[in-house]
Subunit: 428 residues, 4 copies
């Protein structure tokens, strides 16, 4: 267990599956320990799920996909949970409608923890017996799946708490000093492009949509060496960025007008100052930190305003090839993006991992040769390949060890409640 | 405190204001004791409020209308609660939007109980000092107000629990035997009418909309001596009552089609049998008990089908004049309507009080000479005098001592989550 | 045929049914003659109907209720019209959904005129043969029905034209001079009340909801001798009437906020002046004329602001007993309300008929003893007895001879596109 | 002017700009001549526009972008038309809200034709004087723009007529014989791929989004030599294609359930047979003809069911390189897709142009190096690059000469009212 954090303890490099399973499960439990029964139950919008649901659904995954199928004599904890905690697997039967997940005040958070313990015990036994390859693969998938839900639990709780006029903090604010003035101007790093390979090569775990690895052609391009900052975003606001339709995609401009967008999600202006809701409570905006909680529309409009563009996912992945997968992930406990430090040697790219997910200009579509896996597991990603954009690099709410250079996160262009930001690109 | 109930303890005839205050407050607390923090927090629809909100809002009423105004040195429990727990008093400032009351996971139920204790202590002190007439009147109003919210707490919890696939019981089902076959046919009791007086005469507490007492003219009429039963409702269903547009008001028929109404709210058909969600859990429908959870539209359509009509509120109040205010109220702990027993001597009218609210054909409008009180208290009822129908007589969720012969409850014609039923009438 | 108008020609006192039929039908045709095929086809909102639909539906009524039933060998003009031009008679079969009436670009207006001619010819033949009592009654109903639709045709066309940025005039504006300053202050006329009779007594035509005639009890009251004026309404606006929630019913205040109401429907402020859309085109508001195009909510809020109230329908009808049924109806061709002239002798009440419909505080509910007629004709009014308020007295778009002292018009409280205004009342 | 058609007369190869202008304008006029004033005015859904609007808006384009800017002394036909007939150019000022285009009953269709004549006269004069290069380019753009609207006029009229229970025909059905049984099975043609160039090279007219021409990498692939037929689609229906969620994208499945999709748009089942609304009236489905009026979701689900996939736009464009731009376009007057004839020599690909637009799997996104043009013209396509899919090849409603191999049409994945079909692809 990492000494850096009292609540997220995941050693992604563990070669021991049982240990990895335990670490992932413990990290979820630790997140849940910050919450009351009520906190864990309420659903603040249809796109979000209750924390209790995240904790139970990830457990249901192991029970349904592994224990019920493969462990003779396994006693199901509660038959009704299959209905309650299935997400969207049409193949696995009926389920509680998504928009009504918050109606489930019972079972309580405590009972959900008991459910977790019951499943963990059976999984421990199974894993100690030396699982076969198929089980090992499913356990790996289940751990990745649970880590995804850890991140969603954090973003969904932030959304819930933002709706409460008391603006409670998920975690004690602690000494969240504003780090100082603006960082030095961004520097653009050049890449040659050409025929490159992107996508997962099948070694180790990856979600189905990350493959197959394939060739693609990229023209020369340049990438900013850091994320766009709050300070730069304030310049955009104050230059009228939210009022000029020519900067915006048509659907984005409709959202601006219909919803009255005038700053990032969670921001408020009090007096002359910008404040924002965070997992550490309501805080002044730090001008030097990366801007986050942006829709694709906002990211795209900013890029137009700046005379740049968003990178494609191939450009991003190609550039990330040599960059270590380190950064401000959930295990730092910071739970909000961090200002870029001094420039690093080597590629010169900073903040490629962690801090906030980076919107790309790529629609989330199947790679050439992609085929969805058969059965329930195949419902995983392919069915969402429409109307969404790809994000890369992970965020301050992503568990370390969950990210990969090939990782394709995706959200609809209007989504703002994730830790989403941007990095600028331009033709080379 | 009544020996009949372990959770509702209100002696309405208490002449001691302090004792009455305590009894009402204790009854709310007892209701809350059946609930978890999560149960008490979730809002299952915009028309319903969280139990925690009911418990805090009634407390806020005493704090705002009495303690803050009249007790020098009173320490407000938490300044933020004025925003959180104001309901709709435009005069008392901004408030949490109604549809987002369920976002308030904090304060917890426990903290709300502490808020209640804090206010109760100050109120006890005030009441022990002998309050003046104005305070006494406000305390009386506050108690009546809290009793209203006790009933709403019960109906709102029933709605919440009905949304949970596990269909939890608010209270242990216990021996809720189905009481047997159909009751004897209804008997119609005749009334002469003429110029009668209805409305509250100002003696003792009443809500503003119950007065002034005034003369009205009623033609001769007849009233059924009991409520319509589930058995009779099943006959209506099976005769195609929900499929014949000529029985329905136009707006009601639109609701039938749009929402697929085919039986009362909370009913389900399993196999050949009718079941219903209740505060005692999911139960078979008792054919001999009064039908409940009906919209005005359904009550009106049933009356048309039966060749009768609904009574006016004047007819109902005139008939109730000689009937004792006794019945199956919340203190029996039954929490669902009860079959009519044998006919009583005297007026012959049964089930006039308790069991379920009776839809009348009267729109909720001001009585002749009605004037809303000035200030916040005046926002109480007058502003809702549009688009609603009057119900009379109280229900199995109404605290005893809360009902009056002049009591005018009101709901929109499509509302179904209250304990609403009907009694037939016809011209004399 | 009245010499006063070139387009509305109805002598209501005609004792000759055939002549009456012809006059009513001609009046509709004359209205239609102001319209292009496109004007007559478009539906500007679900509550409105295309003019072509009004012209065809009223014709369908005669064809379906009389010719098809009672004239052997009658050749139906077009079988498809039963589907197209039925309104809401569930008993007469399927029909074009109300909200899609505007999709019917064919048949053209010209074909609809041919349909009218075809039916008129058959009706003429039937009426010349001396119809029996039942037919005579249906013809009378059909004429009243058609006159209702004449008024709706006018109000619906006004709505349509108001949506066109060019703001076309239905009829040449002509010399619509603003008549001068404010009229003298309103005078309140006293009435004793007591047990009075209201409702239709069955002599001559009336809609079913106007009866039966019955006794009711009224307390002493006073009625303003004229309608509220635009000038008085501007005072209400400028005193903040649209910004003070305490003046408004709760549902009305919600409409004010949601829809941004700040003046009557069709009004606009240009420079410092109020303008309004009318059937005579876009015109400055005449301060001395009655205010119109108000919701019930606005009328009620104004009365609260003025320290008065709206009259009940019984009060209105009782007061109207001695007033001649004369006024500014559609046949004057003015097509907008007219300033009250000097006070008349006698009752002193002015503008009781014509100019604009007067909102009453009475919900539209069945009178004691009301029974809907059996069959299709019985669907006429009873099914709308829910959620609407009664209006009395007719308007500048009402055909003369269509109004009666017992006439009960009704609209939902938020409706604003009719010629709706108010007269103040107070307790006597 | 083509002898093949009495209403669409466009020689795309004309080198004479004036002649081209005249031909395009005449084609629009000819389309309008089939319509009544009412037909041309009604807007049947927010996505569609009235025919009159199409006829006026295209005229407004020439007036605003050319005549007002470049012809001294040009007299604007009607100043109010700028408001009425602007589409979405934020830079050109306020405009009639899109969803209310159908409120504009005046000006009439006749006046719009007069507007067209007025503008045509001025344009003729300008063009006869030998326009400069900039004007020539704008005229070319205006002609292309008008041709787009010709197609939309046809698809919008089809939608309007489908809403009319009488199901009128835009054009006399004539001898639309069903052509016989199923065509021979599809044959898959192989392509090598590699680094290819796609996109417009700047020679001749193209919309901005078609360029720049650029290199892209395609892996080997195979394309069906014809479109999917109605017969094949019926097999999909009858195999339960609309009932199996695993075939569908998640958003598509939601649409299936919410809207009850069970066959292509405009289809109905009567008795055991499939019928469909067409521009030639209501007709039996021809099993041998290409299926059309499909959403992307349906096309994608069909491909999954068939074990194939949709082509990417690069694959389609690469394959189209050698195919003549000939096919069943609007000028044939057929106005519905036509069965594939016998296989052709050469590439073997049939129906690549005309019949129906082919959904590709490519999201509509900017090509590498794309930059929107500055000013109003730049609002043309770039602002829609979000949430839409590319379609290729034109349809039976596309004017000949309007299509290009590089042409990128785009619609949201749920759109069904265009002539949209599909061609299958698979990996090589």
């Amino acid at each position: 267990m990492s000494a850096r954090s009292d609540f997220l303890a995941l050693d992604a490099r563990s070669s021991d599956l049982a240990e990895r399973y335990r670490a992932v499960r413990e990290a979820s439990r630790a997140l849940g320990s910050h919450l009351s029964d009520a906190d864990a139950t309420v659903q603040s919008m249809p796109d979000a799920s209750p924390a209790k649901w995240h904790l139970a659904h990830t457990t249901w995954f192991f029970e349904t996909m592994i224990l019920k199928e493969r462990v003779p004599g396994y006693r199901v904890f509660d038959e009704s949970y299959n209905f309650l905690f299935n997400s969207y697997y049409e193949t696995v039967g009926e389920r509680q409608p998504r928009a009504r997940r918050g109606m489930v005040t019972r079972p309580s958070l405590e009972e959900v923890f008991a459910y977790r313990a019951h499943v963990d015990e059976a999984m421990d036994r199974l894993l100690s017996e030396g699982p076969d390859a198929e089980v090992a693969e499913l356990v790996g998938l289940g751990c990745q799946h649970e880590q995804q839900h850890q991140e969603l639990l954090l973003t969904d709780i932030l959304h819930l708490f933002s709706q409460n006029p008391l603006k409670p903090a998920f975690k004690d604010p602690g000494p969240v000093a504003v780090e100082g003035g603006e960082p030095e101007p961004a520097n653009f790093v050049s890449f040659e492009g050409g025929i490159v390979e992107i996508g997962h090569d099948g070694e180790g775990f990856a979600f189905d949509c990350e493959g197959p690895r394939h060739r693609t052609l990229i023209e020369p391009y340049r990438l900013s060496d850091r994320l766009v900052t709050n300070g730069e975003w304030i310049a955009f606001i104050e230059d009228g960025g939210y009022r000029d339709p020519l900067l915006w995609l048509s659907a984005g401009w409709a959202d601006v007008k219909e919803n009255g967008w005038s700053m990032p999600f969670y921001w408020e202006k009090r007096g002359g100052d910008y404040w924002t809701m965070t997992l550490r409570g309501f805080q002044p905006v730090d001008r030097s930190a990366p801007v986050t909680h942006l829709s694709y529309f906002e990211a795209d409009a900013f890029a137009a305003w700046a005379g740049k563009r968003l990178p494609s996912e191939a450009e991003w992945e190609n550039a990330a090839a040599g960059v270590p997968m380190e950064g401000n992930f959930a295990d730092t406990g910071r739970l909000r993006p961090k200002p870029a430090g001094g420039r690093e040697e080597g590629t010169g790219l900073r903040q490629m991992f962690g801090d906030c997910w980076e919107w790309t200009r790529s629609a989330f579509l199947p790679y050439p040769g992609f085929k969805a896996a058969p059965g329930a597991v195949g419902e995983y990603n392919g069915k969402f390949m429409c109307g969404q954009f790809v994000l890369r690099g992970g965020s301050c709410a992503t568990p370390p060890g969950h990210i990969r250079r090939t990782y394709r996160n995706f959200f609809p262009p209007e989504a703002r409640w994730q830790f989403t930001g941007l990095r600028l690109a331009e033709d080379g």
